[in-house]
Point group: C2
Chain length 219, copies 2
Amino acid sequence: MLSYTEENYLKTLLKISLDKEKEEVGTNELASLLSVKPATANEMLKKLKKKKLVDYEKYGKITLTKTGKKNAIDIVRKHRLWEAFLYEKLEFSWDEVHEVAEQLEHIQSEKLIDKLDKFLGHPKFDPHGDPIPNKKGEIKIQHKKTLAEVSVGKSCKMIAVKDNSRSFLQYVVKVGLGINNEIKVLSIQDYDSMMVIEVNGQRSSVSQKFAENIFVAIK
Amino acid sequence: MLSYTEENYLKTLLKISLDKEKEEVGTNELASLLSVKPATANEMLKKLKKKKLVDYEKYGKITLTKTGKKNAIDIVRKHRLWEAFLYEKLEFSWDEVHEVAEQLEHIQSEKLIDKLDKFLGHPKFDPHGDPIPNKKGEIKIQHKKTLAEVSVGKSCKMIAVKDNSRSFLQYVVKVGLGINNEIKVLSIQDYDSMMVIEVNGQRSSVSQKFAENIFVAIK
DNA sequence: TATTAAAGTTAGATTAACCTAACAAATAAA
DNA sequence: TTTATTTGTTAGGTTAATCTAACTTTAATA
């Protein structure tokens, strides 16, 4: 049985390795994502190594073992199923679900998750458009493009967000964006790559940083 | 903000004071209900006193303060709402809901509970027949009789159970009993108060201890 | 390549929640 | 009312997860 804390370390390690193809998981980055000091993360890594959940040598690379990864994926599955529940059944807004799911993902009951999955009709994506792993731990990987890669004059459909932070999501809402919305790229500024986009008739100017955090399907 | 552990102490203190009218909450009993040693409970009591959640003097009585009680009731509210959810929406059986709700009751999100309450249609009772406190912390107290108080030849309706342990609940199910079932008391043994009861045509012999843990409404 | 900067590690301390063992107070029994 | 038993408390120790400060290794840069 894993502690709440151990689960969070595994989850974060998985997130780093998925988010960035570069695969370079470092103690400092891990620590900063978990809001702890590097020394703390280092200690936990030793503990997780002893438990055979990560492969790790002093000053070396950090990778999840097969077991570690399965555990991490299970947590992600729980997180996303809860998000779907909050959004679809309890009328939570898009940018509110993450925080509560951070707590719910640690509830220990296989039966609960199976039943929840069934209750929701076996959803494939969470409210942010991220795929929900199945019980076996398989994830449908969709190699997604970001809004930043769309060229002037083209249209696309928003399918997910990269950043799940509340501040970002609220910004997204403010621009009038949501999952499945059509986005038209009206212009791109050469100098700083600012984009003017149109969503449901609403025009907005967005930064490159913003555009890089919106996943889209190009028509 | 209360820790998981502190919440459990408050909840248990409330349970003791409600279950038994005698009101004698002792360190040992508290400790045993929480599966910790008396020394541990004692330490926590000092901590809760400092936080003004319990009133307590050395060797004296333990009582919840107003704040402590409100906190405890909020946890009970969450617990029972989650039980109702598990039972009604996720098809958990009657005897399975308690354990999972023990975890879910600690999720911190007022909005979540409000939404859940609404989603369930503001239920007044949990699957065991226990009243769900409202948001203000008010509980509909139903001074309930137990099956042990029913006399021979009389009929009654089961409305709740006193003991929420899995073993007891499974026994209840085995006897063919459930909330709202009609029970007829066919005979009571003078010597040891064993009862023969009939439920949906099924006759069973039950001990006094069993009968004392079934709450009923007498017709 | 030698030096500096960044990243990672170790040592020693702290806090919450728990323990055992010894002691003190209150209550019940003789 | 004195003694024995139960109940409650204190002291000192453990573990998980955190910290700061000092140190070491690796990587970057001059």
